[in-house]
Symmetry: C2
Amino acid sequence: MATGRTHRPATRSRGIPEATVARLPLYLRALTALSERSVPTVSSEELAAAAGVNSAKLRKDFSYLGSYGTRGVGYDVEYLVYQISRELGLTQDWPVVIVGIGNLGAALANYGGFSARGFRVAALIDADPAMAGKPVAGMSVQHTDDLEKIIEENGVSIGVIATPAGAAQQVSERLIAAGVTSILNFAPTVLSVPEGVDVRKVDLSIELQILAFHEQRKAGEEAAAAAAGGSSVGGAAPAAAVVPPAGRSAAETRKGGPEGDVPAVMPA
Amino acid sequence: MATGRTHRPATRSRGIPEATVARLPLYLRALTALSERSVPTVSSEELAAAAGVNSAKLRKDFSYLGSYGTRGVGYDVEYLVYQISRELGLTQDWPVVIVGIGNLGAALANYGGFSARGFRVAALIDADPAMAGKPVAGMSVQHTDDLEKIIEENGVSIGVIATPAGAAQQVSERLIAAGVTSILNFAPTVLSVPEGVDVRKVDLSIELQILAFHEQRKAGEEAAAAAAGGSSVGGAAPAAAVVPPAGRSAAETRKGGPEGDVPAVMPA
DNA sequence: ATGCCTTTGTGAACGCGTGCACAAAGATTG
DNA sequence: CAATCTTTGTGCACGCGTTCACAAAGGCAT
């Protein structure tokens, strides 16, 4: 999953826990699939299975929205789709801008799921003058100079940043100054934003590193279990050889490399 | 952030909490930046600011790895870079395969941050015969038929799925059967995998929906505050008009659309 | 060598999220 | 109309994660 929100840590919005909000899109997707198959009702058990969560958790989540179920029957699919859509604010149109039209930015621009969810790509913006005017995903890329104008004229409140890390903070500041209050950040940097602005971060590199950690642990446990049948279950004796603690300079290895300077994908 | 892990819910690995593991890459990035600037030591306060977290949290996180700091001074940057890299398993080479070379898959293949972190793209795989042999990011795309062979020959244990949702489950099963034990899933589906396999999910659509929720709440509060100076602070009276509860069919609106059938980006 | 000052490492309290288990509610059947 | 059966909604307990606050530890200046 894309990771972590910044700001508004414990501020339960209208009493709906953040963890629940994060699951609503999951339920919505499962419900939409059911709706397409014209299934009239679902039990919490079925829906929970489809969404990959615990049924008790699902019921508790729905209880925050109100009591939309019928005991002995389940939930009305259509009604629930509407209620969750409304709760998530998907019944209205959300114009978004994508800043940084590199590999990733272009890929995002082509994302079909945008319009299906009430999100409309209002503009594609890039700092490279050579990109300006170029067609991407059926739109013409615009230059960063016009960023403020674009935001204001389209009433954009959600911005997507897919620029290199070095540009992200500045871009976010311009977006926010122009009126944007929610940012989806693909650049591998920590954005510092004023209170009241929501930032969500998506970072491929971090996800892979987390997987690598678990992978290493699994390999270590396996090796330990295979070697000694004993009781030493800890993370001792990893399978692969590790570089000695002092015989290596991180600066040497990484200096000047692509280190953290690009988002999850190389921009142009 | 990319969202949520599946499986191994409470299984603290070697005593390191999952939440801590998720932050280690963040620290590592900040430390690497310091290393490049040849900064010898950092205090928890400084590093925490750079990583965007609480300093107490950072110290506690590091305490799980052992005591690598010096009281009164701080942490040795180089040493800490090494320790975290080792803990995350980045001192070894991790071959990965990317399955589904559409817009997103291609963008991922071009991601420079892979190699910088010890991840090596071993192969690009697509089900479309027309894609086979085509060069993407300097590699030749291979056909799904050879998936098992590729996995085994390269000793791949981490797979990235960037296929349409419909293909994701089947792809994951083939990957797992061939030996993959960690999956990064960009397809908007819940993967069901056997125990011992780690799955992390990245879903652009979900991130945007979460932002929309907060955006709507902010707009509602603002409107409520502006209208009545009273005490009705709840989510009453959202700014935009909402469609009436019964006068709308979700199936009608979404039927046959790009609904959840593609990952965060349209594959070819 | 001694005292001061900085910063770590952690004990303890608190709050959120999760999951169990069950009573209440409603449908359904005879 | 009554009995039964299904499924919701939730009270409760538990565990993880976060944060505060402070004692211990080490460097540094005198």
